[in-house]
């Protein structure tokens, strides 16, 4: 320090964190890359405090020492390259569409024209989902909190907000239906249905278990690879179809619009699962074990909801079919993920 | 039984100190050894500050440790100054009469 430091400005085009890149990183990458300092290189612990403090041990156990490991988590990219600006643009447009649909149907007075069966269906299978989705929102927030790369945290952060969006739409509809059908129990019976109705208990069990799955990799697997894809198939896809069949266009449109968030979640989650296996084939066994455990819970949950759906459609649908349809949706989401033959393709794309 | 060695018999040990020089604005890290005298300690501290931030004055410098002024020829070991101890170095300005 006894010499005035020499300054030889070497023109740089982007953050040195990207190394000697030939290609300029995208706006998404600039805004997302290595933002979480608790993941910095050469750290002795996640937090700049006593290495054996409770928070440090928590992050060591559930993040750094997770059975799910990768050489370079920062190699992950969200296939939608979402930035904050892109997210609020996307979702304000999506919400404008929802508002348009809601307004049109409110003007047409369509809630008042719903057959009693449809009202009961919504009151049992749609309006109680605000609890389930809020639980998912919490688990997704935890995934974001603990994720081993800011690329993953950000995807989970937007996804957390998407669940709040869904809860918000469900809440809005809850009020509309309550106004139109004050004696239906809509707006007052949801919590008790959620906590005590047989059809909901396996789903509640699954989300409660997910809330206490503190290994970040397992939480991600449980929610994003298994529970959400399975239950969205029942609560958005199949419920939407049944609603459409009943002439309840509003519920069908709304579930279809909300399904866009689920598809986006499926895209980034699948991409992340592929990256882990491409970087470290041993992760296949880790994911396999977790997927197996959570698939059982997810199938039970889908079956419970299937029974509810069956009872509310007077047997027009069968619980087993509902569960099978949901399982098939999940299996499509996970197709060939755990298949060793897929290594080369995943390595090439990952 | 071997006789225990006194501090003065050991090879000089490094003693990093927290030091402040007179009216300087900041405490600094100054490494000395157990064998250094107070005069040497004062010089080591002054090296970083005197004439750099605090104007040099033509007076002797004295080391103060635990509120006591230590003799110039006393060693760090003899003074019982331990690693990470705090010392102040002050000019020994004669009383104006």
């Amino acid at each position: 320090m006894t010499e005035t430091p020499a300054r030889k400005p070497r023109p740089r085009r982007t953050f040195s964190a990207f190394g000697d890149v030939r290609k300029m990183p995208s706006e998404y990458e600039i805004m997302t890359h290595a933002q979480n300092w608790t993941l910095r290189e050469n750290r002795t612990s996640a937090f700049e405090q006593n290495p054996s403090s409770a928070p440090n041990l928590w992050f060591l156990t559930y993040r750094d020492n997770s059975p799910l490991q990768a050489q370079d988590w920062d190699a992950y990219r969200d296939p939608d390259s979402l930035t904050y600006r892109a997210y609020v643009n996307l979702q304000s447009e999506a919400e404008a569409k929802v508002a348009g649909v809601l307004e049109t149907h409110a003007e047409a007075g369509s809630d008042a024209q719903l057959p009693a069966g449809s009202v009961a269906l919504l009151g049992h299978l749609f309006t109680p989902t605000r609890y389930l989705c809020h639980g998912f929102q919490q688990v997704e927030a935890y995934i974001g909190y603990m994720a081993p790369s800011s690329y993953i945290t950000n995807a989970a952060a937007f996804c957390t907000a998407d669940f709040l969006r869904r809860v918000t739409n469900v809440a809005y509809r809850t009020r509309e239906l309550q106004v139109a059908w004050p004696d239906s129990g809509i707006g007052s019976a949801e919590r008790s249905l959620w906590e005590t109705h047989d059809g909901w208990q396996p789903a509640r069990k699954a989300v409660e278990y997910a809330l206490v799955s503190y290994d970040w990799g397992e939480a991600f697997t449980a929610l994003n690879l298994v529970l959400a894809p399975t239950l969205d198939d029942v609560l958005l896809t199949q419920l939407g179809q049944v609603a459409k069949g009943n002439g309840d266009d509003l519920s069908w449109l709304l579930t279809s619009l909300l399904a866009a968030d689920s598809r986006r979640r499926d895209r980034w989650s699948r991409q992340l699962a592929e990256l882990t296996i491409a970087q470290r084939p041993d992760n296949r066994a880790v994911l396999d074990k977790w997927i197996g455990r959570w698939s059982q819970l997810a199938d039970d949950a889908a079956h419970g909801l299937g029974q509810l759906l069956a009872s509310l459609t007077e047997g027009a649908v069968r619980a087993d079919d509902v569960a099978a349809h949901a399982r098939a949706a999940r299996e499509r989401h996970l197709a060939s993920l755990l298949d060793p033959a897929s290594d080369e393709t995943t390595a090439a794309t990952g | 039984m071997t006789q225990e060695l006194g501090a003065q018999d050991l090879a000089p040990q490094l003693v990093p100190l927290n030091a402040i020089f007179a009216t300087d604005f900041v405490q600094i890290l100054v490494p000395v050894t157990t064998a250094n005298t107070m005069q040497e300690v004062a010089a080591a501290v002054a090296h970083h500050v005197e004439g750099r931030r605090v104007r040099a004055q033509p007076f002797e410098k004295v080391v103060i440790h635990n509120g006591k002024r230590l003799p110039a020829d006393m060693t760090v070991a003899a003074a019982g100054i331990k690693p990470l101890d705090h010392i102040a170095v002050e000019y020994d300005i004669p009383e104006q009469s």
């Binding site: 320090m1 010499e3 430091p5 982007t14 040195s16 909190y145 | 927290n18 104007r55």
Partner: protein
């Protein structure tokens, strides 16, 4: 027929708690993550935010804010504004980008933590907006800082700073890990949204915007003002949390605020203080750091906590006296150890600047003027060597900032005093009595090493200046230096000089 009003349906969004039966409530909300403490679990059901917002409103409003911030940016992109900004002001922005961008990301993690572990559904929802807000701030700050890398390599530290072991960053990580990412959510809601975001961030984001605008940096002023509009909203998680905690455990509430306030005050003295009183060109200063502190912290914040039934912190007199000292000492430290910075610190002590400092801080000349005079004389004698460090400043075991806070004795002299204590067989030193008391009260930083500790433990190799700079991540293209020695020394050329270092002649 229009849509339903928010009031008619938002209750359902907020009402999302249920009773668990497959797992224990205490497993879903582990005590050390949630920190309910003496507050009965059911008391949290009364948690209610005043500042309500819904998802569709949120995305629509935020879209407008983003559009406007980026419109200003692109309008200015082709202008030459940046090239004409004062070096001192640029330093204030470099310090901001490096010292703030990733703190915003730490706040993303903090809000995610509350979105998961918050003890009421409405709180978790508000934190869900909060984490999005903070993501916005991290991204916009990072992106705006990135823009200038081509013009000045120091802006690389926008992203890099917090990945290094530079002493400034160790200090800030220690503070923000402790009050944002790691604490239980009750403490967190009081430390981050309430203490930090309704108090201190206003200083950096609203008050500094005044200086930015005056300095001609419209883009920066606009960015930080826009960020603070989000803070104003999500910071409202603090109030309801504090209300409940005060009712059941006022002692803890007081302690949490006291500690967060002190830590924030130390950090802002290091960063915002020099930016306002030294880096901002004299003609562009709106108010002094002290005046901004009085407006935003002393009056507003203290009034607020008193309304919640709490008292001024126990160290209040020491803190108030520090308003005239802390940031001036830190400014001198930042300047003297300038090779360890990622900006070019202005000394800011020309005659006019000193007159301003003396007017705003009547003791300034007495405490700091003599040292700057020696530095000035060394510069004017071509003794630059004597103005560069050969050892480390002592770093406080609580705040990790240099121990550089002079206090006045009864006889009127100003001296930097030793605040130390013995614990578990070793000696710890602190910059102030406040830092020492905080260490003693919760001993959070026991076993956490300051840069001095790391150096003495041999973790920094080689054990010399080069080794230290390497450990801190400084590269020659980034290391700070004074942007213009002449600017602040030329007023004093030719005056009689004595007692300066002879380093250059020897």
């Amino acid at each position: 027929m229009a849509l339903l009003k928010r009031e008619e349906w938002q209750g359902f969004v907020r009402d999302v708690d249920w009773s668990y039966s497959y797992v224990d409530d205490s497993a879903v909300f582990p005590e050390w993550h949630c920190g309910t403490g003496k507050v009965p679990r059911e008391a949290w059901s009364a948690w209610e935010e005043d500042y309500k917002v819904s998802y569709p409103e949120y995305v629509a409003t935020q879209r407008e804010k983003e559009a406007s911030a980026y419109a200003v940016k692109s309008a200015l992109q082709r202008s030459t504004t940046f090239d004409h900004l004062d070096e001192g002001w640029k330093s204030a922005t470099k310090m901001h980008f490096g010292g703030v961008a990733l703190v915003e990301y730490a706040a993303v993690l903090a809000e995610l933590k509350m979105a998961r572990f918050g003890l009421n559904g409405a709180w978790r929802n508000m934190a869900t907006f909060g984490q999005l807000d903070e993501l916005r701030h991290a991204q916009i700050t990072t992106f705006f800082g990135h823009e200038f890398i081509g013009k000045d390599a120091q802006y690389d530290w926008t992203q890099k700073a917090f990945h290094t072991n530079d002493w400034v960053l160790i200090s800030l990580r220690n503070l923000f890990d402790g009050m944002m990412i790691a604490p239980n959510v009750v403490d967190l809601a009081i430390e981050l949204p309430l203490t930090f975001e309704t108090g201190f961030t206003n200083l950096q984001f609203v008050a500094l915007a005044s200086d930015a605008l005056e300095s001609g940096d419209v883009n920066f002023a606009n960015m930080i003002s826009s960020i603070q509009t989000d803070e104003a909203r999500h910071s409202q998680q603090g109030g309801p949390t504090l209300e409940i905690l005060v009712e059941h455990d006022p002692v803890r509430a007081q302690w949490v605020i006291d500690k967060a306030f002190w830590g924030s005050a130390r950090a802002f003295a290091a960063l915002t203080g020099p930016a306002m009183d030294y880096y901002t060109p004299l003609e562009h200063r709106k108010q002094s750091y002290r005046e901004f502190m009085e407006e935003w912290i002393i009056d507003q914040f203290v009034h607020t906590i008193e309304e919640y039934g709490l008292k001024k912190p126990w160290y209040w007199d020491e803190f108030m006296r520090g308003l005239d000292i802390w940031h001036h000492g830190l400014q001198m430290g930042l300047w003297y150890w300038r090779p360890t910075l990622w900006w070019r610190p202005k000394a800011g002590v020309s005659k006019d600047e000193r007159a301003w400092l003396a007017e705003k801080y009547p003791n300034w000349e007495k405490v700091f003027g003599d040292k700057w005079d020696v530095l000035i004389d060394n510069v004017n004698a071509n003794n630059l060597e004597a103005t560069l460090p050969e050892t480390l400043p002592w770093l406080c075991s609580t705040c990790h900032l240099p121990a550089c806070n002079a206090t006045q004795s009864r006889d009127g002299t100003w001296r930097v005093r030793d605040w130390s204590l013995q614990y578990d067989g070793r000696t710890y030193h602190f910059c102030t009595n406040g830092c020492r008391q905080i260490f003693w009260k919760d001993r959070d930083n026991v076993n956490h090493q300051t840069l001095i500790d790391r150096f003495l433990a041999g973790q920094i190799q080689p054990m010399d200046v080069g080794g230290i700079l390497g450990y801190m991540g400084l590269t020659p293209d980034v290391m700070g230096d004074d942007p213009d020695y002449e600017a602040w020394t030329k007023d004093y050329v030719g005056r009689p000089v004595e007692g300066i270092s002879l380093a250059a002649q020897s």
